[in-house]
């Protein structure tokens, strides 16, 4: 990375020179012009920034700089503008142009600022800077960086995590050292890390290496790396499979009630999921406009809202249409197909045909990195946990509560249940609303990973039915097995056959499997079956 070389110059100056005040010409050099010149200006100015320079550099990175004539402006969050050089407020004219920052400039800015962070006192910034350095050492090791690393390591106040990163960076940089002992030590150190980014580095070294001992060490390091890569790729495959399975499960759980237990071939199930997703979106919009400070927690509020919204729609469906159709499952197919058309078009009329944007709260963004190469996105992890929680809730509700008992009883024999004193109409409505509400919860979760649009439900309906049926109609446990099984199978196959063939293979698997078990995984075993 070219910018690092210039950083060395910068490094020597740190602490030595006194800050020099930002001039209008400097500001302009940063904000406009050819990328190469601007990078040069960044590196020149970042070496000894005064407060205003720093503010300008940071604003540049955030895309909050405009140029109005010859004047460089900083734009605050509220849209107000100040002169970058004087700090005086300025009225923003229409023709003010954004100062263009592309990826390359952004990288240069970040690096320039990060070296300061390395010696600063802000711990997270320090860690990030060290990581950046480590990354560049892995990708493009340049022995010229060593003094910088050493100098940083000499800092006794260095954060422990940042220190590890820097030590690794040093190892990478020393891999091509002239000193055989150093090379050996570096090779051994790197072997234990399991970072895939090291692979080209080690491979290149292995090719060039003369010393036999170092060669062995490198070979060991390579195979250690391969092992850990194999493990982490296996684990990541399993994780993606479970994650897909959890999504299938969420999508199917509601259907396991409305269809599995109640026998309603609910083609509008997908639309109930969609309603949950739109409810989430509305809650998000509400938080954005009224409670921006609590925006991160909108999802907690969205869950009950999504549940209730879909449950209410479901209850309305049940009261107005479905209740006339019990015992005629194929008719429910037709009617709910109609309902699904109406719901979809309704959403189109209300919110438009285009997708709406649902943002992840910050605690659902990003990922945790395990084992070097195994990155698990937070939203996936949380959705798996959420699916498990919903599953447990539903299972307890259905098998352990009176409501659950009534639901099962009523769905099996409606007239006799009513002769036992059960208000069957009410139970039916509750049960259908419950299944619909769970679909709403699924929608809430799905809004975090996919798109939210009027067609959202269509992409889940077929899969949901496959899962419920494969599991065995009316068998909650079967639904779980089917969802996880299909998720894992799909992801496993996708690994070596590609997305399309994997999906085809999964469908063929379903067809063949049903031949073996014509009533699904968990066939209802009994004489009435």
């Amino acid at each position: 990375m070219r910018w690092l070389r210039s950083l060395l110059v910068l490094l020597c100056l740190i602490g030595a020179a006194s800050a020099h005040a930002l001039t209008p010409a400097d500001a302009l050099a940063l904000a406009v012009g050819d990328s190469d010149d601007r990078i040069a200006a960044i590196n020149r100015l970042a070496a000894e920034p005064d407060e205003r320079t720093l503010a300008l550099l940071q604003a540049l990175g955030n895309g909050a700089v405009k140029v109005q004539g010859e004047q460089v402006l900083l734009i605050a969050d509220d849209g107000s503008a100040t002169d970058a050089v004087t700090g005086a407020p300025v009225t923003l004219a229409d023709e003010a142009e954004d100062s263009m920052v592309n990826n390359r400039l952004r990288g240069a800015l970040e690096a320039a600022l990060s070296v300061r962070d390395l010696f600063g006192s802000d711990v997270p910034a320090q860690q990030a800077a060290a990581e950046l350095l480590q990354k560049s050492a892995f990708e493009e090791p340049d022995a010229a960086q060593l003094p910088l690393v050493d100098k940083a390591l000499a800092n006794t106040a260095l954060d422990a995590k940042a220190r590890t990163s820097l030590e690794r960076a040093r190892a990478a940089l020393q891999l091509a050292s002239d000193d055989e002992a150093q090379r050996l030590a570096a090779a051994q150190a790197l072997g234990g890390m399991g970072d895939p980014a090291l692979k080209p580095l080690l491979a290149a070294r292995l090719e060039a290496e003369q010393s036999a001992t170092v060669k062995t060490a490198l070979g060991d390091a390579m195979s250690a790396l391969d092992r850990s890569l194999a493990i982490s790729s296996g684990l990541s495959q399993a994780f993606t499979g479970i994650s897909l399975g959890s999504i299938l499960l969420l999508a199917a759980l509601g259907l396991a009630i409305t269809y599995g237990l109640m026998g309603v071939i609910n083609m509008a199930h997908g639309e109930l999921i969609m309603i949950g997703a739109y409810a989430t979106w509305l809650v998000q919009a509400f938080f954005k406009s009224t409670l921006p400070d609590y925006f991160d927690w909108y999802l907690l509020a969205a869950m009950p809202v999504a549940f209730i919204a879909s449950a209410l729609v479901g209850a309305a469906m049940e009261r107005s249409v479905i209740r006339f159709l019990y015992g005629r499952p194929l008719e429910t197919l037709l009617a709910t197909w109609g309902i699904s058309l109406v719901l979809m078009q309704g959403v189109r009329s209300l919110f438009g045909a285009q997708n709406v944007g649902v943002e992840n709260p910050s605690w659902m963004s990003g990922s945790v990195t395990l084992l070097g190469n195994l990155t698990l996105p937070w939203n996936r992890i949380l959705i798996i946990a959420f699916a498990a929680a919903v599953l447990i809730g539903v299972t307890l509700l259905i098998s352990k509560t009176r409501l659950g008992l009534f639901v099962r009883g009523v769905t099996q024999n409606r007239p006799i249940a009513s002769c036992m004193g059960v208000n069957t109409a009410r139970i039916d409505t509750y049960a259908f609303a419950l299944g619909s509400g769970i679909a709403g919860l699924a929608g809430c979760a799905l809004s975090q990973i996919g798109n939210v649009g009027p067609d959202l439900g269509q992409s889940y309906i077929v899969d949901s039915f496959m899962v419920v049926v494969l599991g065995g109609v009316g068998q909650l446990a079967g639904t779980v097995y089917a969802a996880l099984g299909l998720g894992l199978l799909n992801k496993f196959l996708e690994g070596w056959a590609g997305a399309v063939l994997a999906k085809i293979a999964v469908l063929v698997f379903i067809i063949v499997f049903i031949q073996k078990r014509p009533q699904g995984i968990f066939a209802f075993k009994g004489r009435e079956a």
């Binding site: 099962r408 009883g409 024999n413 036992m420 004193g421 009316g474 004489r527």
Partner: protein, 232 residues
Amino acid sequence: MSLLQVKDVNQYYGGSHILRNVNLSAELGKVTVVLGRNGVGKTTLLKSLMGLVPIKSGGITFDGKAIDKATPYERARAGIGFVPQGREIFARLTVQENLQMGLAYKPGGTPIPAELFELFPVLKQMLGRRGGDLSGGQQQQLAIARALAAGPKLLILDEPTEGIQPNIIKDIGKVIRMLADRGNMAIVLVEQYYDFAEELADQYVVMERGEVIASGPGSEMQAKNIRQLVAI
């Protein structure tokens, strides 16, 4: 006044007239037996009592209140227990859950009366088995137990001996007698098994083509040669 009073009930399936001006009453402590050949409308009558089929005209009063507009569950809550023809147990619920369904309108947590297991010991052994897996006769016992669970004021039984082994029929007979003799329950029994019916009857009603053609106190059944009436 009788606990249950059925007055001039008429009922149709589509175009065909199934019940014609049927009158019937049941009193606490008494067993009312309804007799009649296949297809004369006995089950239909009981279903009308439960509210499972609407009646076209006439009136049904129970415990002094008109119930002919009430839904089946309201009638159940008012204190009518029903043992349907063909058992109609919940095939996928366990025996225990079937019995809990019988307690549906009682507050949650009401225990299943232990008495039921004394009457039908086999149910105790099979508490965890799915109702649908029981044998025919076991299912019949379960159906009776389920109807008794909540302690109804009126018990309606539609051919409860069908498919039951002789010693249990005897037991059922005893149970019915005992329940009636306690004096706080009225029983309406539809039965084909004439001897069984005659033995239990405090009152009898004979139906033919949807009409009541004979009725009276049980003690007169032999004298009036009711057996012949049913056999014709």
